[in-house]
Structure formats: structure tokens, C-alpha cells
């Protein structure tokens, strides 16, 4: 089959699918709003943060997937996911809905109110939904997305990740697109190896905990180092489909960023030179 024939066929299939979804009660996509990961300085889309340059910022009505690199990084991944939620929450009114199952709270700890407040989230805006199993969790997630009253919906998938197949992903993506609500999914570790590449998620982040004491490392002998603000090592496992330059992005590179809990935005951890050095280190660690 010629290349042109394939693309025509694809276009036909895409249209057919769109037609089915329109007819099947699928909602027309809500208008998308764009916002930045980092602090917006001056101009609307301008932000000093590297992710905004690389990825073109965040957009509502899309699916974002976050997973820890290892089990021990789950707290960091939670922090990153909640950082995203806080970004969306800052730009829109409405509740933040956290959907999880019972097991996750018991095994990995339940979201802790004062900790959420310290992370820069307004406790009073968050509604927690504790489903009893994976099916109920996905159902609640879809309902919450469809209702359109939430600023963001975060799902701590846990055991439900097994059920999160292409069909489920399609439903969630459609629900998010229809209402314009962003969905943030927190996967269990190593889930991205299983998660299919093309499940409709806008972006996919793999999170590692990163030391927050780099700055004070030199003074180690004299002053005992103190943990700082949350540092994340982020691997852009799927850099999104919005930015044209994203296609050339290195998906193995781990970038270190900081969640500024006081102001509620992400920023780069180090100066450019230092970040390049740490990036190189990460790359060597990855290949080793």
C-alpha cells in the first residue's frame, strides 16, 4: 500500500471513529485553556521554566500520566501529580477531586491535610473519593471528569492500573476532552513499561525523588544539611503532541525540577550549566 493510501485510510478511520463517538452521546470537545508549568513572567505564555519551553505548557481537557520510577518514589510522584493539580487549580475555579482505592491509602499512606496545605493546595477545595475496587475507581474517575465542575481530577490508580487498558484510557480521554477537565493519573511504579504508548495521554512523566540538599553540600562539615523543597527527577516519557519541537526531545533524559510550594509553580533546579551536568550524570546512570 502506498504511503498516501495509508494516510487516507487513517483519515477515513479517524473520521469514522469521531462520527461514532459523536453519535454515541460523546460530548463535543470543550474549549481548551492553556497554562504554564512555571511562573508566568510578563507575557502570557512566557515562562522561565524549561518545561514550558520544551512542552508548550499544560492544557485543560487532557490526560496526564505520572508514575514513580521505583516504589520509593511514589511520594515524589504524588507530589508532582499534586503540583500539576495545583497548577490547574490556580487557573480555574472548582473542586479538586482525588480518587483512590482503599488499599492505596492503607499501603502508601492517605493524603494528609496539613501536608497538602504545606504543598500549596487548598484543603477545603479537595474532595476525596475512596472507591472499593478498580472498577468503581475508574467509574468514579470518569463520572468526576464528565461532570465538568472540577478544576482537576487526580486518580491514584494503584490496583486499578491493571484495568486501565486502551478502552478505559479512551473513555477517560473522551470524558476529559468533553468537559475540559484535566485528568491526572498516578500510576504505580514501573507501570509505563506496560502502559501502551498510544493511549491518548497528552503527557507522561516518570518521577524520581531527587536530593534537595545539593546547595548545602559544600558546607556539610560545618552545618548539618537540612532537607529543602521538593526536588523531582522527571523523565518525559511522552513529551506531548502539542509542541512541534517536542518530537526531537530526549525521552531518556532525567531533568531535575523543583516544586515551589510557597508560590505554587514548578521551576528548574539549577542553573543551565549545572543542569546540563546533572543531566549528563543521569544519562550515564541510565545507560550503566
Amino acid at each position: 500500500m502506498s504511503g498516501r493510501g495509508t494516510s487516507e485510510r487513517l483519515r477515513y478511520l479517524r473520521e469514522a471513529i469521531a462520527g461514532i463517538e459523536q453519535a454515541g452521546g460523546g460530548m463535543a470537545p470543550a474549549p481548551v485553556r492553556r497554562l504554564a508549568f512555571g511562573r508566568q513572567e510578563g507575557g502570557r505564555q512566557e515562562s522561565g521554566f524549561s518545561f514550558d519551553r520544551l512542552l508548550g505548557g499544560l492544557a485543560t481537557g487532557a490526560l496526564y500520566e505520572v508514575a514513580p520510577a521505583r516504589m520509593g518514589d511514589l511520594a515524589a510522584a504524588t507530589g508532582f501529580a499534586l503540583g500539576l493539580a495545583a497548577r490547574f487549580g490556580a487557573e480555574a475555579e472548582g473542586a479538586l477531586i482525588w480518587v483512590s482505592d482503599e488499599f492505596s491509602a492503607r499501603e502508601h499512606g492517605a493524603p494528609y491535610g496539613p501536608g497538602l496545605a504545606a504543598h500549596g493546595l487548598d484543603m477545603a477545595r479537595i474532595v476525596f473519593v475512596r472507591a472499593q475496587g478498580g472498577q468503581d475507581l475508574l467509574w468514579a474517575l470518569e463520572e468526576a471528569l464528565r461532570c465538568g465542575a472540577a478544576a482537576a481530577v487526580i486518580a491514584d490508580l494503584g490496583g486499578a492500573a491493571r484495568l486501565f487498558d486502551l478502552v478505559a484510557a479512551r473513555r477517560i480521554t473522551q470524558a476529559a476532552r468533553g468537559s475540559g477537565t484535566p485528568a491526572i493519573l498516578l500510576h504505580p511504579p514501573a507501570s509505563f513499561q506496560r502502559v501502551m504508548a498510544q493511549n491518548g495521554a497528552r503527557m507522561r512523566f516518570e518521577i524520581k525523588a531527587r536530593s534537595s540538599v545539593i546547595a548545602s553540600a559544600q558546607t556539610r562539615q560545618t552545618v548539618r544539611p537540612v532537607p529543602g523543597a521538593a526536588h523531582f527527577g522527571v523523565r518525559l516519557a511522552k513529551p506531548g503532541v502539542t509542541a512541534g519541537q517536542a518530537s526531537g526531545l530526549d525521552t531518556e533524559l532525567v531533568r531535575t525540577i523543583i516544586w515551589d510550594h510557597g508560590h505554587g509553580y514548578f521551576r528548574d533546579a539549577l542553573s543551565l550549566a549545572a543542569s546540563a551536568a546533572s543531566g549528563a550524570r543521569d544519562r550515564s546512570a541510565q545507560s550503566a
Binding site: 511520594a75 515524589a76 499512606g109 492517605a110 504543598h119 476525596f128 473519593v129 475512596r130 521538593a230
Partner: protein, 487 residues
């Protein structure tokens, strides 16, 4: 001993001793009287009787009292209603005697002692019917009945004609209080098991319907009627109840609550859709057993609140234009509907909001309340967290602190390394201690003082550890726990 119809045919009677009865009929089945089971059954029958009237009261120890004012015509008159009740109960294996009278007391007396089952409305005729009944029909204490009997007052008619004062002085005022109530001279009311709901709609079927789709379709049709009624009165339902009367007498109530007055057919139908979906799936609910099907389905609004009419046209217009920004009211309404729906399917205790508490003990600093009961604090200003260099509280907190093996350089110092969930963590950075003392005026007064440390290991993972007990003064060997994890 109590007997059923078959035993009575053998010549046995109520009050006979079991050994006497066995002598007459050796193959007798005797079952120990189980008052609790008996009452459960009676309650079930009472609930079942609500298919005839919303006002059904349990009339202990062995009766059910129905207020049928204004409903008899629905069943083809009084005698037809009585026949219907008796036949339906007989099919369930219950032998019942029914009687209809103008007052609960008269109905009680007729059902138990009378020959006539429907009391005449005319007072003279009523007296003729009630007069020959024994005084036991007045529901008096056995001692009073015996005393009246000794005085020669054996029938109601005997008492009614006598001068009142001597009898009241000797046997108590209750005799005449009951008698007056029986004759309708003083008013008495039954106390129904459930209050009559504000709005009721129902469907009756000649044969039981047994498919869930049909049940749901019926509920949808009923919801339409109910919403029309609510609309007329400018009210919305806060609590709803669907009652399913199964052909064989089992009654199932399905309740649903709404966070705001509800008058939307679709929202209402979906609420019950979730409830039916949830039936049988969660631990705290029995599966919906269709059995032989339901022959009456009733939808009632048991609690209502005023709800101003909305301009539905205008709201729809806004939706059609696909407005991205919802109005605050619209957003609240949608969130309310969502939480109702989630609560209907998952259970309301699974939809939670956090409320800050005035305590510094970490486990109690917030409580999770069902969103339905949540009342935002008047002073719920978000606490400013911006000041600190790093968050002081963990993002995830374990339900109960998890013990760890920790090695510290000095007994009251921070740990150097610790083992948690089989993994060794080398401590790279520490902040602490933050000393939190148990609040002696609260329950957990016996808890030990905790020294909390915020710890980062060499991997960059951050933990909230604490040492329990002050070294030397509270405990000889302080133990370590990890209580939460930071991002």
C-alpha cells in the same frame, strides 16, 4: 401454647399445656416461641402493609394498625380491601384477621373479639356491636380485667351504662379513657412506623415485574410524575425512597439522599440507577433480589425543601453555546449532583472532605468527614504555608505509624540510618526534632512524647520519622516509627 388452624381442627386450643396437647396428638410439631423473630416478622408485615396506605403502625404484640382513611376506594371498598389483605397474607403463609372501625381501639376489639368485622358508623349500632364484647377488648391490664370480672363487670356494655366515678375510682381512669377513644368521643391516633412522606407516586402491576431494566424504567416514569408534583409546589426533594413490594410479601426500601433540593428527572433517575447498581456489590447492602418480581413500585419524597423555579430555557441556552466558564451556582449544582451520584453508588462515607481540627497531634489534625455532612468552617482560611523553606508536614500519612529499626549516634539525636519495609535508608539530611506532646486533656493521654524528624536519604526520598518516648524519663529504649512521606 398457641395453635394454628390445623391444630385447632384436632381439638387443641390456645393456653393448653404442651403435654396435654401431645396426649391428644402425639405427632404434634412444637416450636419454641421466639419473640424476636416474631417481632421481626410483624415489622416486615407492617412494612408490607404500606402498600395499602402510607400510615401503617406496628400494634404490639401481635397486630398491625392501618390508617385507611381515604384509600379504600382504591381497592374497591372496605370489604374488598379486607379480603385483599387477608388473601395476600394467606399466600405468604400468614393467617390474619382484619377488622375495620372508626377508631383504632374499636378495630382492635373487633379483630380480636368481635363477630362483625366492619364496625357500623352509627353510634347506637356501634354500641350494640361493642357492648357484648368482653372487657379484655379494652386492652386493660390482666389484673384490672380480673378485678372487673370479680365485680361482675364482664362486658363492655356493663361498664358503659354504669356511673363512671365509682368505677374510675376503683379500677383506674384507663377504663374510660379507652372506652371513650373506642367510641370516638376522644381522639386517638396511631403512631405509624414511617411518617407519611410529603409526596408519593406509585405504579401497580397485575403481575410482578422482574427485570431490572423494567424497574428502572418504572422509576424513571415515577420520577417524571414526582418532579411535576414538586414543581407545582415549588419544592425539591432532599431525601427519596423507592419502595419495591415483592409479590411474595418482601419489601425493599432503597433510599437516596441529595445534597441540594432536587427536581430534575434525569438526576433523580441516575441517582437510583447508581443505587440499584450498587445493591449487592458493597458489603453493607444485600443484593437486589427480584424473586417473583415486584407488583408495586413506589417513589416517595420523604424530605423536601423549597426550590425556586429555574429558567430552564436560559440554562440550556448557555449550555448549547458551550460556555467554558460555568457560573458558581451551576458549578456547585453539578458538583453536588456528582457527589450524590458517587455517594449513591459507593456509599456516602466514601466521599470525604477534610476538616481541620484544633489540635497539634498529627493523627487528629484533620478529620475526614463525609462530604454530605461537611460544613465548611467559618474560619476556614487556608493556613499560609509559604513561609517555610520546605513543607513541614508530609504529603501522605500512614494510618498507623510503621515501626522502623533506626540507628542513632546519640540516644536523643536524629537517626543515622534506618530500615523500613526491608530497605536500608542512609540519612543524608535531617531537620528536627519537632517535639509533639500528647494532649493530656484528650483521650490519647497515655501516648508518649514524640520527637519528629524530617529526613532525606541519599536517594532523595523524604520521610517523617519520630522517636516515641523521651529517653530516660519516659522510656529506656525509645522506638522509631515512620509516620509519613514527603514529596
Amino acid at each position: 401454647m398457641s395453635v394454628d388452624g390445623a391444630a385447632r381442627a384436632l381439638g387443641l386450643g390456645v393456653g393448653m399445656s404442651l403435654s396435654d396437647a401431645r396426649a391428644i396428638a402425639p405427632h404434634l410439631d412444637a416450636v419454641e416461641h421466639d419473640p424476636a423473630a416474631f417481632e421481626r416478622r410483624l415489622v416486615a408485615i407492617t412494612d408490607w402493609c404500606r402498600r395499602f396506605t402510607p400510615l401503617a403502625a406496628l400494634d404490639a404484640p401481635d397486630g398491625v394498625m392501618l390508617d385507611i382513611s381515604g384509600v379504600t376506594h382504591l381497592f374497591g371498598g372496605e370489604s374488598a380491601l379486607m379480603r385483599d389483605i387477608e388473601q395476600r397474607l394467606a399466600r405468604q403463609g400468614v393467617s390474619a384477621i382484619t377488622a375495620i372501625a372508626g377508631t383504632p381501639e374499636a378495630a382492635f376489639a373487633l379483630a380480636r373479639f368481635g363477630k362483625m368485622r366492619i364496625a357500623p358508623a352509627d353510634e347506637k349500632a356501634l354500641l350494640r356491636v361493642l357492648g357484648p364484647l368482653p372487657v379484655a377488648a379494652l386492652r386493660l391490664e390482666p389484673s384490672t380485667i380480673a378485678a372487673l370480672g370479680r365485680a361482675g363487670l364482664k362486658q363492655i356494655g356493663d361498664i358503659h351504662l354504669r356511673p363512671r366515678a365509682p368505677i374510675a375510682a376503683r379500677f383506674g381512669t384507663k377504663v374510660f379513657a379507652t372506652l371513650d377513644a373506642m367510641l370516638g368521643d376522644t381522639h386517638s391516633a396511631i403512631s405509624p412506623r414511617f411518617e407519611a412522606p410529603a409526596y408519593i407516586v406509585e405504579r401497580r402491576f397485575a403481575e410482578g415485574i422482574g427485570a431490572r431494566a423494567h424497574v428502572e424504567a418504572t422509576i424513571a416514569a415515577l420520577a417524571q410524575e414526582l418532579c411535576a408534583m414538586l414543581e407545582r409546589h415549588g419544592e425539591g426533594a432532599r431525601r427519596l425512597c423507592v419502595t419495591l413490594f415483592r409479590v411474595d410479601g418482601a419489601v425493599r426500601h432503597i433510599q437516596a439522599g441529595a445534597s441540594r433540593p432536587l427536581r430534575d428527572v434525569k438526576a433523580l433517575t441516575r441517582l437510583f440507577h447508581e443505587r440499584l447498581e450498587a445493591a449487592g456489590k458493597t458489603r453493607d447492602e444485600d443484593p437486589l433480589d427480584m424473586g417473583y418480581g415486584f407488583d408495586v413500585i413506589r417513589l416517595a419524597a420523604t424530605a423536601v425543601d423549597p426550590l425556586d423555579p429555574v429558567q430552564t430555557m436560559l440554562a440550556q441556552k448557555g449550555k448549547a453555546q458551550g460556555d467554558l466558564v460555568l457560573s458558581d451556582a451551576e458549578r456547585d449544582a453539578r458538583l453536588g449532583d456528582l457527589l450524590d451520584r458517587l455517594g449513591a453508588r459507593l456509599g456516602t462515607r466514601r466521599i470525604l472532605r477534610l476538616q481541620e481540627q484544633n489540635t497539634h497531634w498529627p493523627e487528629h489534625a484533620v478529620v475526614a468527614l463525609p462530604a454530605a455532612e461537611f460544613q465548611p468552617h467559618a474560619s476556614a482560611a487556608p493556613c499560609p504555608a509559604a513561609a517555610s523553606e520546605a513543607p513541614e508536614r508530609p504529603l501522605r500519612l500512614f494510618e498507623s505509624p510503621e515501626p522502623v529499626e533506626a540507628i542513632a549516634s546519640v540516644p536523643d539525636g536524629p537517626p543515622l540510618r534506618f530500615r523500613w519495609r526491608k530497605l536500608m535508608h542512609e540519612v543524608a539530611a535531617v531537620e528536627g526534632p519537632e517535639r509533639i506532646s500528647p494532649e493530656w486533656w484528650r483521650q490519647e493521654a497515655r501516648a508518649l512524647t514524640r520527637d519528629y524528624f524530617r529526613i532525606e536519604d541519599r536517594e532523595g526520598q523524604r520521610f517523617w520519622l519520630f522517636r516515641e518516648g523521651l529517653y530516660a524519663s519516659e522510656t529506656a529504649r525509645p522506638r522509631w516509627y515512620v509516620h509519613g512521606v514527603f514529596a
